[in-house]
Structure formats: C-alpha cells, structure tokens
C-alpha cells in the first residue's frame, strides 16, 4: 500500500509543481508598459493619418509587429517558458479572448477613423482610450488562460 500512497503523492506533487510553473508565467513591468505603448500607437494611427494623409499603414504596422515579436522574445527569456503561437483556432480554451482582442482592435480603429472623418475628435479620443484599457484587460485574461492551461497540464493529471 506504500507504493500506492507514493504514486498518489507523486500526482499531487506534480499538480503543485505545475502550479508553481504557472506562477512563473508573469509579465515583467517592461512587458506591460511595452504592450500599452504598442496599443497606444495602434489606436493613434487614425489620428496621425488624419493630420498627415500621405502616411501609409505599412511603415506603421511593420515596426509595431517587430516590437511585438521582440517583446515576446524578451518575455520568453525572462520567464523561461516558451508557449507556442496561439492563433484564433488553437487552443480552444482561450479562443473567445483572442477573438475579442482582434475584434476590439479592428472595431476601435475603424470607429475612430469614421469619427475623425466626421470631425468628431473628442469621442474618437475616448474610443481610443477605452479600447486601450479593454485590450490591456483582454491581454491579462489571455495570460490568465495560459496560466490555467499550464496548471491543468497537457496530460491526464
């Protein structure tokens, strides 16, 4: 019976260890700030394009994506945990959050652009600020999802 107790204890220990691993998956301060700045740039684009109509989206979007990749690389190094790329279809657990992240970004940018075209600047600024707050909250939710995933484990335990 000692072996059985030991096997049960092993499984319990593994749960504790996975929980410890999940707790290591935290954003460093620079990641949170970087993410906020990145979203601020994204939501500022409709305003910039209004004052400089010649500006194209690509010179703006590509550096933003490069910074995002760099931040992801830094996060992997800081936490010591590399989680795979999450697209809109996989894994299913965080799908609503990831869809919401994309929907809020696109929705906010298009709403801002439409308001700016009608010269309604203040509501456009409010939309941009709200979208930034919503994106940060959604990113936190996505991180919580990853932590839950690590805690739950990929196996039967």
């Amino acid at each position: 019976m000692g072996d059985v107790a030991r096997d049960q204890a092993a499984l319990e220990l593994l749960r504790v260890q996975r929980s410890r691993l999940a707790d290591q998956m935290r954003w460093p301060w620079w990641y949170q700030s970087g993410l906020a700045m990145m979203y601020a740039l994204v939501f500022a684009f409709p305003f910039i394009s209004r004052f400089d109509p010649g500006i194209r989206v690509w010179p703006f979007l590509l550096p933003t994506l490069a910074v995002a990749c760099l931040m992801q690389w830094g996060l992997t190094r800081a936490t010591g945990i590399k989680v795979g790329f999450r697209n809109l279809r996989f894994p299913a657990s965080g799908r609503p959050t990831r869809i919401a992240i994309v929907a809020v970004s696109l929705g906010a940018v298009f709403t801002e652009a439409s308001l700016i075209r009608k010269d309604v600047i203040v509501p456009a600024i409010v939309i941009a600020a709200l979208a930034l707050v919503a994106e940060m909250a959604l990113q936190q939710a996505a991180l919580r999802g990853i932590r839950e995933e690590l805690r739950g484990g990929g196996g039967a335990a």
């Binding site: 072996d3 059985v4 691993l21 010591g80 945990i81 990929g154 196996g155 039967a156």
Partner: protein, 133 residues
C-alpha cells in the same frame, strides 16, 4: 492513448520533469524547470540526460552573452509516454479513492449482523501494476 506504466518516467524526479514539460509549454528553460520541480541543478542535469538518452526529451543549448541557457522540450515519443503514464497514475488514484469511498460507505451502514459481510469489502480492484512501482 493507452494508460500504462513507464518505468523510465516512474521515478519521482523524472516524473516531475516530464510532467512539467507536458504541461502545455513548448520549451522550458533550465532554471524555470529546476525551480518548478524544486530540485537541484545536478539532479536536473543528471535526470534530463537519462531522458534525453531515452529519446523522451530534446535539449537545446545556447547562450545570452556569457550566460549559458539550456532549454528542454518533450519529443513526440516522450509526450506519448508521459501522457500514458499520467493516465495510468490517474486511473490508480481513481481506483484508490473509489475503494476508500466504498469502505467508508460500508462502515457507515448500520451494524446488521444478519447481512453477509462481503459488503464490507471494496468493490473496486486496484490495477495489477500496483506493486511494481
């Protein structure tokens, strides 16, 4: 996936390493794995080499500046073995708790001496590999 005991993964340290690598991350760095498992550097080095030799774990070594960094991940073969082993452990745990539940139920029944006593015996039988760990 078949639930089966894997003697290579069964020792607690190797189970911890493999179980953490199977938790959902692609790669885990040496220090993060060591801290989560609560083991020493030398134990992790030794046990990861055993797992690497068995083809269960892939090791990638690199450096950032002068600091060496070692990353681990499960191979597909290792993942299959870990999932099978964890499923076996989960079955074992389920069987043990079911037996304990049955025993508790049998004890809580009124003491009826006219009834046959085989009711006190647990209905669930533990997996046959119990004693081999």
């Amino acid at each position: 996936m078949t639930a089966k005991l894997d003697p290579l993964i069964h020792p607690i340290t190797r189970l911890s390493i493999c179980g953490l690598l199977a938790a959902g991350a692609d790669w885990i760095e040496f220090a993060a794995l060591r801290d989560a498992a609560g083991i020493s550097d030398s134990v992790l080095s030794k046990q990861s080499r055993v797992l690497e030799d068995a083809g269960y774990v892939e090791v990638r070594k690199g450096a950032i500046g002068r600091r060496p960094r070692t990353w681990f991940r499960l191979t597909p073969e290792g993942r299959q073995a870990v999932e099978g082993h964890l499923a076996w452990l989960a079955q074992l745990e389920e069987a043990v708790s079911a037996s304990a539940r049955d025993l508790q139920q049998a004890r809580s029944l009124p003491d009826d001496r006219d009834q046959p006593h085989d009711r006190d015996e647990p209905r669930h039988v533990l997996p046959p590999l119990l004693g081999s760990s």
